[in-house]
């Protein structure tokens, strides 16, 4: 089992998202995240799909995506240098002064922005990799158990331009 990344160019039409997500559910393929947005060409949408699978299943997934009429191109990013980011909001409720100090310290270390605050609730915004966001969530869950509310956006990815950086 290995973490995989796929970039998918699809027709920007009603029902395409259902078609792609239906393919995953109908064939029992595992799906970690899926994001979609329109590209510079308004008739084409671009999806970033992350999933965990073995080699055989992953080959099948790429072929099944490729044979869908609505799919224009399938690009496997698994072993390609890419930049990827995921937006994450974390709301921490019922904060004491000590909590707030701690949150500011965490925000420094993790490169997280505090974008809203009302005295007892703090809203963090984090645009990091999926793994880094996982780490942050784990830490916050430990420190502020049952007081946090999480919204994750799923990853977007793009090929690196000049460097082999991930």
């Amino acid at each position: 089992m290995k973490k995989r990344w796929i970039c998918l160019f699809v027709e920007n039409e009603i029902g395409v998202l259902a078609r792609i997500s239906g393919l995953f559910s109908g064939k029992s393929y595992n799906l970690d995240s899926l994001t979609v947005g329109v590209t510079e060409d308004s008739t084409i949408s671009r999806m970033t799909i992350s999933l965990t699978s073995d080699d055989r299943t992953f080959e099948q997934i790429k072929k099944q995506l490729g044979r869908s009429v609505e799919v224009i191109k399938v690009v496997d990013y698994t072993d390609t240098p890419i930049h990827m980011k995921e937006i994450l909001f974390v709301k921490v409720n019922h904060c004491t002064d000590a909590d707030i100090t701690e949150l500011f310290r965490i925000s420094k270390v993790f490169g997280v922005a505090i974008i809203d605050y009302d005295g007892t609730t703090v809203l963090l915004e984090c645009t990091q990799t999926e793994n880094r966001n996982d780490d942050l969530i784990a830490l916050l869950k430990r420190k502020f158990a049952n007081r946090i509310e999480i919204v994750r956006g799923g990853s977007v990815a793009v090929e690196a331009v000049s460097i082999s950086e991930r």
Partner: protein
């Protein structure tokens, strides 16, 4: 430019696509389309009696002619009644375009009368499904639908047509060509891979061809026969591939699979090169996958990349159309010297033939009589024992074709498929081989066959059971005949597993039923009456003929590979043995 309604453009599009037969059932949201078809002379508009029968008929028409089958039904229940037929056709790569009426666009999502999200329902069971939301997209979408249905790996396309789009005026332009950027059917053959495959084949000591439905779909039967004859390599087929070369050819070994022949399954298990074309290696043919063709290098040609290396690991994958690949192979292939191997296979064929071995009215005798009496024919099967016996005993050559629901295994398929086949092949004999169970699943189409004067011959093999399931219950479930007896009545003992002469009478009386529809009915209870019944049906050129063959109640399909076993591990005969 001339302005016409969507409905008129629909009719124009059908003509441009050279649709000669339309299987259609009207309804509220399709009434404008039917209005545009009124009095139409270029297109034969057929009214079946149920939408499921309708789509199986379109399927039978498409399989037997090679043309795209076209359906037109209304929204809601009209559309949902197509679902089984869509999955059936798509699973067997049959080109169909299904037009469904839909409620007007401004009412979609309002739980309108007879509204269903048909594109949503069919998305996972067809090749492509689309709703036409704007009148200006109509022509291009229909063009695209036909193009996608018939190219590459053929399949079903659903086109949902809201009523306001049918009624709206717009251009009468219909494009001659279309480009779909996300859809590029493979049109070439990778010669490097093909040469590698040939190299492996040429060095083989025990090679076999394993041919699936892809060769029949690509109409490559002549070329495949040439390839087999040129190389001398024995040919094994899946049930969908049956007829890829004439079954009477000495190179034909038989069907592979859980009801395949001993020789075919043994050849697969013992071969050193398995050269497969147009099969997806589905579970019914491989048996226990870990023990499938373990000694063989496997070459796999398929038009669908997703079918390759999915179920079994392949040494040489080749994505190509079967006909193109076989033609390319023909240019380079050479005779192999493998007489020891072919002798061995022939010995297996001789020692372990598929033979029901019983005297009396057996399915084998019925099907062999059909072989003898009909030379130019389309034979449609239903699903179950009737289908398996037919795939075992029917002879197929260039003048005969078998239609069967291989992938989905849809009971109720055979009879309506034969109706469609007869529309497409009026000069051929069209024969249905069905069971008593499947026959009742679309029996309403008897009216269609009668009113369109289709002299189809319907052979019902009546054992009073849902025989295939009963066979499994007998062999693997301790004879617990749960819900498989068709002669059951309230008065029967609970948990009965012993049919005898006291069993309640069968209902319906198929002969009386046939006659009430205006068809001819013949009941056959003795082997010596088989041929006279078939001949008498052949003479009847005005109406369908139902021949009900009363067969042994507990007759089994043999041999069988028990569930979970490897192909090596077949049960060859029923426990009672031969009589």
């Amino acid at each position: 430019m001339k302005q016409i309604t969507g409905a008129d453009l629909f009719v124009k599009a059908l003509k441009e696509e050279e649709v000669d037969t339309l299987f259609a059932y009207p309804g509220g949201q399709a009434i404008d389309l039917f209005n545009a078809l009124y009095g139409e002379r270029e297109i034969d508009v057929i009214l079946p009696r149920h939408e499921q029968g309708l789509i199986h008929a379109a399927d039978g028409y498409a399989r037997s002619t090679g043309n795209v089958g076209v359906c037109l039904v209304t929204s809601g229940p009209g559309a949902t009644n197509l679902v089984t037929g869509i999955a059936t056709a798509n699973y067997d790569s049959v080109p169909l375009v299904c037009f469904t009426g839909q409620v007007p666009t401004h009412l979609i999502g309002n739980d309108t009368f007879q509204e269903v999200d048909f594109v949503g329902i069919t998305r996972s069971i067809c090749k492509y499904a689309v709703m036409v939301r704007k009148r200006e997209d109509l022509a291009e979408t229909i063009k695209k639908a036909f193009y996608i249905a018939k190219t590459g790996k053929p399949g079903v396309v659903v086109v949902d047509l809201p009523k306001d789009v049918q009624r709206a005026y717009g251009s009468d332009f219909y494009p001659q060509e279309i480009m779909v950027r996300g859809y590029k059917p493979n049109t070439s053959v990778h010669m490097g891979q093909l040469n590698k495959a040939l190299d492996i084949l040429n060095h083989a000591v025990k090679p076999v061809f394993l041919i699936g439905g892809g060769v029949n779909i690509a109409h490559a039967n002549t070329e495949m026969t040439q390839l087999a004859e040129l190389t001398g390599v024995p040919v094994i087929t899946t049930i969908m591939g049956k007829g890829a070369i004439p079954t009477t050819s000495s190179l034909y070994v038989g069907n592979i699979g859980i009801h395949g022949s001993y020789a075919a399954n043994s050849a697969i298990s013992n071969c050193d090169v398995l050269f497969s074309i147009g099969t997806r290696f589905n579970d019914r043919i491989t048996g226990k996958i870990e023990e499938f063709a373990v000694n063989a290098k496997i070459i796999h040609i398929d038009v669908d990349a997703a079918s390759i290396s999915r179920n079994i690991d392949v040494d040489i994958p080749i994505v190509a159309d079967a006909k193109k690949a076989i033609c390319a192979l023909l240019e380079k292939a050479k005779p192999l010297h493998i007489s020891e191997w072919t002798d061995e296979i022939n010995r297996w064929k001789k020692e372990y033939p598929i033979d029901m071995g019983k005297v009396g009215l057996t399915p084998q005798m019925i099907i062999q009589s059909i072989n003898e009496l009909f030379k130019d024919a389309v034979i449609a099967t239903d699903v179950g024992q009737n289908q398996l016996w037919t795939t075992q005993f029917l002879d197929i050559d260039e003048n005969k074709q078998m239609l069967t629901s291989g992938g989905l295994g849809t009971m109720g398929y055979g009879f309506p498929a034969a109706i469609g086949a007869k529309f497409g092949n009026p000069h051929k004999d069209v024969i249905v081989i069905s069971g008593d169970g499947g026959m009742q699943m679309n029996i309403q189409e008897m009216a269609t066959a009668v009113v369109y004067e289709l002299p189809i011959i319907i052979c019902i093999l009546n054992n009073g059971y849902l025989g295939n399931v009963r066979q499994w219950q007998e062999m693997f479930y301790d004879r617990r005949y749960s819900s498989t007896c068709m002669r059951y009545r309230r008065s029967c003992e609970i948990g009965c597993n012993k049919p005898d002469h006291c069993c309640p009478e069968y209902t319906p009386d198929f002969i009386a039923l046939a006659e009430s529809y205006g068809a001819k009915g013949i009941r056959v209870t003795k082997a010596e009456d088989i041929k006279s019944a078939l001949n008498s049906a052949k003479q009847n050129t005005k109406t369908p003929t139902v021949i009900e063959f009363i067969i042994d109640r507990e007759i089994n399909v043999m041999p069988i590979v028990p569930p979970g076993n490897s192909l090596n591990d077949m049960i060859l005969e029923s426990e009672e043995g031969r009589e």
